[in-house]
């Protein structure tokens, strides 16, 4: 049975698309047949992050409006087998998405895929609500800062009320928290919220923690999801995240200040 997972956050720029790309890549690398759908109609980015922007012919809106078949619009990833991308339209607006159209596409994809990852646009408007509406699970991406945490809180509220699962009253959506851009040093100095603060406010199962990393920016600009960079801290952290999504239990990494810490703990600790 396919798992439909929405990657969402409320706030923009926290790493939704990066995370959607990295997680889908990770799943495909483990042999899971995965499709990642860009719901950010009008501001599409996923194709850039996945490095397939030159191969986009048809998009999600074309399929919904019957101008192209689903298989014509799906782009096969060049690096990993089992990974497909369904890009968003850059020229339409979000009103071009319809609930019935999205439902139909997801139904068809469910027959073929193990994982359907929906990359939500920022905000809480139509595009974001459609991205989450049919989801079985949600990955809420949060940065260690107050505004991001509050927006994630808002999204968690919507997940519990504005989704098909909520409306039908069955099992609720399974919620996961993914903290990105975590910088242990800046947490120690009080510039960033701590992991414990975020977990306490949001009280949601922690799926993973991605450290702030140069590898992420490099990966985005090169169009290679950071999961491929197995030597980088962020790449390993996403790999751990994927493992947890598949049911493994792994200890958390990269949330503490690294070794050089003895001195910085003596001096940095008192600043807190």
């Amino acid at each position: 049975m396919a798992r439909i997972i929405v990657v969402t956050s409320g706030k923009g720029g926290v790493g939704k698309t990066t995370s959607a790309a990295a997680i889908s890549t990770g799943l495909a690398l483990r042999g899971k047949k995965t499709v990642v759908i860009d719901f950010d109609v009008g501001l599409r980015n996923l194709d850039l992050i996945m490095g397939c922007e030159r191969r986009v012919v048809y998009d999600l809106v074309n399929v919904i409006q019957g101008e192209a078949g689903l298989n014509q619009a799906l782009i096969r990833d060049k690096r990993v087998e089992n990974l497909f991308i369904l890009p968003a339209s850059q020229t339409r607006d979000k009103d071009a998405l319809t609930q019935e159209g999205v439902a139909e596409i997801l139904e068809k994809l469910k027959e073929d895929f193990d994982f359907i990852i929906c990359d939500s646009p920022a905000g809480i408007e139509r595009g974001a609500q459609l991205a989450m509406y049919f989801a079985d699970e949600a990955i809420v991406v949060t940065n260690p800062e107050v505004s991001s945490v509050r927006d994630s809180d808002r999204i968690l509220g919507l997940l519990a009320s504005k989704t098909q699962r909520a409306e039908r009253g069955g099992d609720p959506i399974k919620e996961h928290l993914l903290i990105t851009r975590y910088n242990p040093e800046r947490v120690t100095t009080g510039d960033m919220l701590t992991l414990e603060d975020i977990r306490e406010i949001l009280s949601v199962h922690l799926l993973g923690l991605i450290p702030e990393s140069e590898a992420v920016l490099r990966a985005s600009n090169q169009g290679v999801p950071v999961t491929h960079d197995a030597s980088s801290d962020a790449g390993q952290a996403y790999s751990d995240t994927v493992s947890r999504l598949l049911g493994e239990e792994l200890p958390l990494r990269f949330h503490e200040v690294q070794r050089k810490g003895l001195l910085s703990r003596m001096f940095g600790g008192s600043r807190r």
């Binding site: 809180d153 509220g157 406010i201 009280s203």
Partner: protein, 252 residues
Amino acid sequence: MSLNADSANVAFTFKGGMLPMTVMELTSADPEHIRRQLAGKLSQSPAFFQHTPVVLSVEKLDEPHLALERICAVCRDHKLLPVAVRGGSEPVRQSAWALGLGWFAPVEESRARTLESVSRTPEPAGDEASSVSAAAPGEVDRRAATRLFRGTVRSGQQVSASDGDLIVIGAVNAGAEVLAAGSIHVYGALRGRALAGIHGNTHAGIYCRELEAELLSVAGNYKRMEDIDSQLLGCAAEVHFTKEQLEIKPLG
């Protein structure tokens, strides 16, 4: 979508909303009887009678014709503002419309609530008010008006108990709002807005495990986070309306 097409040029938008509303469940159709009881209530809790909108429920009355105009006049004399009628026969519905009031279909017995639960102060026995409420057939247990919410009340969410107390087992996060006609109990951190006694019950209180509230209000008397003594922030606390102001003190 087309509704929003030229949003710059619209005079209004329709929005759905759930507003707390007091239902006045009539068990007598005699305007004088109602007047006497209202006069008694007015002296007990004057704060409640501030042009409070009420819905007149006539479901419990078995009278095809009501002196609706006179009943409304009695209400207005006591600073209650009838806005609609619930239940009743076809002539009642017609006269409600003629008086410019709305009409609601009757609700099932099981969901009926009484105005009594708004006031938590027990009325002295033998008093006219309590004798009427005791006589009300099928009255729901007062405790049934208490609302229990399990989980986190998240930013943008509003949880209200429009007839009684509200108990939240979990946190109320920043940007969330909890409201109750009675008291509010939060077994967790209170980071959002809490408004107790929304119909004017000054005896209502707010209790929480960890006070970080954006706004606290009892019967319309409020304090912002800025006004709260910073020593109390982060502590278990209780909030009451005493000596004409909000008093916040450590719990226990």
